[in-house]
């Protein structure tokens, strides 16, 4: 191989190195968009169906969340949701079905350590921090809203 060739090759691989992570990021974002969007569309379908049964909007939203949590938990049990998760990243983790997944996954995993210290203790390993910080930030926001603004 000539020197020029080697230099060209090095330049090209440097160019690729520069490009690869960005391409991967773009792919991740696009997939997250489509999978997350699809899960929300299913949620919208559930919401629409519930409302045709004469349930008022507020209760319909609550019931929809509940049904989506069930679906996420069930699909995790079947081993399907983790596959969607590794494919779609935040597209699967951010919807409430992903919240359910984050509860069921460690609970199943740690079942061998018993139902109290395993399932009971580990099921909120990821969902716990979410609830803690949601509660804290919501409280601060509400107090500010009540007394400051």
């Amino acid at each position: 191989m000539t020197k020029a060739n080697i230099r060209e090759q090095e330049a090209y691989s440097a160019f690729l190195e520069d490009f690869r992570p960005k391409r991967a990021t773009l792919r991740n974002i696009v997939v997250a968009f489509f999978v997350g969007g699809l899960i929300c569309t299913v949620g919208q379908g559930v919401l629409t169906y519930i409302m045709t049964r004469g349930i008022p909007l507020k209760q319909a939203y609550v019931l929809t969340s509940s049904i989506m949590v069930f679906a996420g938990a069930f699909l995790t049990g079947l081993g399907v949701y983790d596959k969607i998760g590794s494919f779609a990243g935040m597209g699967a983790a951010l919807p409430i079905t992903g919240f359910a997944n984050s509860v069921v996954s460690p609970a199943m995993e740690f079942k061998r350590e018993g139902f109290v210290l395993g399932v009971g203790a580990k099921m909120f390993q990821v969902a716990g921090p979410v609830i803690v910080y949601a509660s804290l930030s919501a409280t601060v926001v509400s107090i500010l809203k009540l007394y400051v603004f």
């Binding site: 609550v62 069921v104 099921m123 919501a138």
Partner: protein, 116 residues
């Protein structure tokens, strides 16, 4: 049309979370915590309710919707009971989601075993 709005807004929220994760290289749990807090803050700024109005499940199914529901519930009870309402209203509003996660989560963990 409601489906298209739910798809686009829900998808965008997930895409933003994914971009934040890829760019900061943060742990998914940190992104989830940030998303739920962002939802609470946007709710306080009065921006999340219009998003729910517009996109329906596209705004309530992603985690920021959880923060929004907490704030809405707190402020609803606070309108009647003041500071005490913040203590009672939040979890009342998210009770169905939380209890479902505990009940169905436990049930599935008992019924199924990890694959692979």
């Amino acid at each position: 049309m409601a489906y298209v709005k739910a798809f686009v807004v829900g998808g965008l929220l997930c895409a933003i979370a994914q971009a934040a994760m890829d760019l900061t290289k943060a742990n998914p749990a940190i992104i989830m915590v940030s998303a739920v807090s962002a939802g609470a803050i946007l709710s306080g700024l009065g921006l999340y309710a219009p998003l729910v109005e517009f996109a329906g499940a596209g705004a309530t199914i992603p985690l920021p919707g959880f923060g929004h529901t907490l704030v809405t519930g707190m402020l609803e009870d606070a309108a009647q009971w003041g500071l005490f309402g913040i203590l009672t209203g939040g979890f009342k509003a998210v009770s169905a989601g939380l209890l479902s996660a505990v009940l169905f989560g436990y049930l599935m963990a008992v019924l199924f075993n990890p694959k692979g």
